[in-house]
Symmetry: C2
Subunit: 500 residues, 2 copies
């Protein structure tokens, strides 16, 4: 005994000794009533100071695991160690106990299945990510924001906060949204743990009473996370095809005439995956049309800040004026730091009041630390500085990626006028999964587009995320994609000639 | 125009100027094509430096809201401001659109209704909270942990993490649970945004297929949050009465014989609200019994660390050995910092794999900042130091509260052998809501116990949370409660004499 103790760095020695002895107790190697070695003796055995042993014994006593007898030393306390009792270890089949929503969560978990990035070896060029480039992060300003805020109200930040969110942040973001042209009359805000929680909370609350499930509209293709969560929540999805300036209004109206819907999930700016920005005219027509059929809009403000060219377009919730039919989901995850999980829902005040209760039931509130750090970071004027740098950097990459695609993949139609990705559409019959096979062999991965489609479509499309790829690798990777695509197109043409 | 500009502290001046002009644009006070004042002119009008105006104009140009014409100055860009278009503002009735779960979330939201604390005036003695006393928080160690971790891997922490959690924290907590005697074979861990999210995720995944709703067992009384979430998720609740050493096993067995259950939610240590610690013998009997009926256990590790007296008792998941029937929910929120939203689910590996997908769908992952800060704080050995102080402090308050109750409220049966609260049970017929009325008038609030009951019971019980009340106020408050109770008991006795 006592011969397998190993010290590690950072953690205080006495804590390590305490945990070591605790483990011996739990394993039954040290039994109740047994005398522990003297502090001098154990210090020698473990090769640590006597002070550490004394502190460790004190800590064990504190936890009720040992007791001291004056003049006699420390003893192992009576305790209900699991080892001391024989319990029939019963096993259950958890898979049988999982319900539909849980099973769907696994089935639709793209990170676990169909994720090309999973196969990445070192040196692979990864066009699969649209996470921000962490080299851009201004750590010093983040640290400053943290310390500033801790100095102002550290104790408050570490205790319970409010389900609705951290008040100074809410006030700041309300102003921020007002600057985007939103009329705040009758509206309110709920802070969530990122965009995704916001969407999940909204979807969990709307419609679908009486079992059979509701119906939702969305652009087709759209956001994977949105498709997944719409399905998980039991919504039937009706996808509306995209045109270069936003979704096909005629197709939308046909659907609205035949069925009723609980809502429409829309990504009007730098749409994921197509990168399309819905035009101002179409936004107005959309709002008018959905309003006529009383279908509320769930607007994803995704990447709104990552505009490189073109004029300013107001979000739908701004265009709706004092109307209460738009629920806006915002987040700085893609433009600032995804590790800080803060998003917001801006909507009708009565709706926010309900969602606040849902949020409280689900997770009490979003981390006050994250919220207050973000608030102070914004207050210190860092967003503007950061966006200036980030926009310049991403814009360069965006233009470079576009130029490379135009040169090396002329067979595909490009879309995307901002954000962190481009979308490629090949001729019908082309299969981007086959293309991925070829490219993966040469160390280049991207995201096949069918993952973003709510139906069987999109086999001939793909998304290229460039945010985390160097310019050198962008050029190299796209050349590989172009050459592989040429080879595949040749094969398709030949097949057509022989069979068509 | 330009006469209602007001500077505030902290935010850079140019950002304030930019936002000010943006607002004028959004309001339509500045129109597309209009020339903005020269930088010199505006600097004078607003009383700020010319450099700030130049930076503000640049930022507006960056955002696509303005454009510069060489030699002529800056102009307002063409944009789709909401003010420029007339849209019929349509309004919907959101309440009609809310589903059962959302409505239940509001209805069961104790923070919004029935919360005695809501009526608190300044100077009120609040026994309603069981949040930690923030005067105990060791801010310096929290700051140190943050800066240490940022120095090691700041960029990684701010980018996306993993749904399962921050690996170093998981490894640390697995060891931590092993030290509590848990056999980790076949088990795994998911990090959640606090205990509550853990519970909500587990409940969202188990049983209730085919609509009609499942059934759950729990101690009666129990945790408000648990009752709320069991109901929200559509479970019928069967409460088992408590005895001084844990729930009534005979009553439990009777229920198990008559119905099947999807699970049992149990709080074996410092049970909320009764403060009861289930004895080691009862824990074993419980596990054996539930195992026989194949009912999985959801164990709330609540306050396990806040043990003041008595011997160490292993959690149920430790006693279950290699069995996989116990799902353990842990958190340091009550012992450390609630503002940092980190909890964990320790359970069968296959179950964790499913819950990981659910977590990803709901919120991608828990704040990496919170997780890494907590990890570094633990690694630095602060938990032990903090617990030593916190235990001493809370124990003193606990004993003081107990002594005051024994002296001044001798009519009530006391329970609670640790944690941050005591539970009082008055004779049948006594109504603690009436007591609260009397006490509130004298500036003392507590939590009536019926809130914790799954049935109509508990009108004669109450919870006293002492963690955030000074010793002076504890004595004063309990004297008020005692005197008011005496008055009420007198009235009850009289009524009995006249009517009994």
């Amino acid at each position: 005994m006592f011969n397998d103790f190993k010290l590690v760095a950072e953690t205080p020695v006495y804590v390590q000794v305490k945990n070591y002895i605790k483990r011996l107790m739990m394993q039954g190697a040290l039994q109740a009533g047994q005398r522990l070695p003297s502090t001098r003796e154990l210090a020698e055995l473990l090769g640590v100071s006597r002070g550490s042993i004394i502190a460790a014994y004190e800590a064990l006593t504190d936890e009720g695991l040992a007791y001291a007898v004056t003049g006699k030393g420390s003893f192992v306390a009576e305790m209900s160690t699991p080892g001391a009792h024989a319990i029939p270890a019963w096993r259950m089949n958890w898979h049988e106990r999982m319900n539909r929503q849980a099973r769907l969560s696994v089935e639709l978990d793209h990170m676990k299945r169909n994720q090309p990035g999973l196969r990445a070896k070192k040196g692979t060029i990864l066009f699969t990510s649209i996470a921000p480039d962490e080299q851009l992060f201004d750590l010093e300003n983040v640290k400053r924001a943290f310390l500033d805020r801790m100095a102002v109200e550290g104790r408050v930040l570490l205790n319970y906060g409010y389900a609705k969110g951290y008040k100074p942040l809410i006030d700041y973001l309300l102003k921020y949204m007002e600057h985007k042209g939103v009329d705040l009359t009758g509206k309110d805000m709920l802070i969530t743990s990122g965009f995704t929680e916001g969407l999940d909370i909204v979807l969990s609350a709307i419609g679908r009473d009486g079992g059979a499930g509701g119906r939702m509209l969305c652009e087709n293709p759209t956001h994977q996370t949105a498709i997944k969560n719409l399905r998980r929540h039991g919504f039937e999805i009706t996808g509306i095809p995209m045109e270069p300036d936003g979704l096909d209004l005629a197709a939308l109206e046909r659907e609205l005439q035949t069925q009723s819907f609980d809502g429409a999930f829309l990504v009007p700016s730098y749409h994921n995956p197509t990168g399309i920005v819905t035009s101002a005219e179409k936004r107005l027509a959309l709002l008018e049309l959905l309003g006529r059929y009383r279908v509320p809009v769930i607007e994803d403000g995704f990447n709104e800040e990552l505009r490189y060219t073109g004029s300013h377009v107001a979000p739908l919730i701004a265009m709706a004026g004092q109307g209460n039919g738009v629920v806006y989901l915002g987040s700085f995850s893609k433009v600032l730091f995804p590790g800080i999980r803060v998003g917001w829902v801006l909507a009708d005040r009565e709706l926010i009041e309900v969602l606040e209760s849902v949020k409280r039931a689900r997770s009490i509130h979003t981390s006050t630390l994250d919220q207050s750090l973000l608030y102070q970071y914004l207050l210190n004027g860092n967003l503007e500085k950061y966006l200036k740098r980030a926009r310049a950097e991403y814009r360069r990459k965006y233009e470079w990626t576009k130029a490379c695609c135009e040169r090396d993949v002329p067979y595909a139609r490009l879309s995307g006028s901002g954000g962190l990705h481009l979308f490629l559409e090949f001729p019908d019959g082309f299969d981007t999964w086959e293309l991925l096979e070829l490219c993966a062999d040469q160390g280049v991965l991207f995201t096949p587009g069918d993952m973003f489609f709510v139906d069987e479509g999109g086999r001939n499309t793909m998304r290229i995320g460039f945010s985390r790829v160097s310019e050198e690798d962008i050029e190299k990777g796209i050349r590989v994609i172009g050459a592989a695509a040429a080879k595949l197109l040749e094969a398709v043409k030949e097949w057509d000639l022989n069979n068509g």
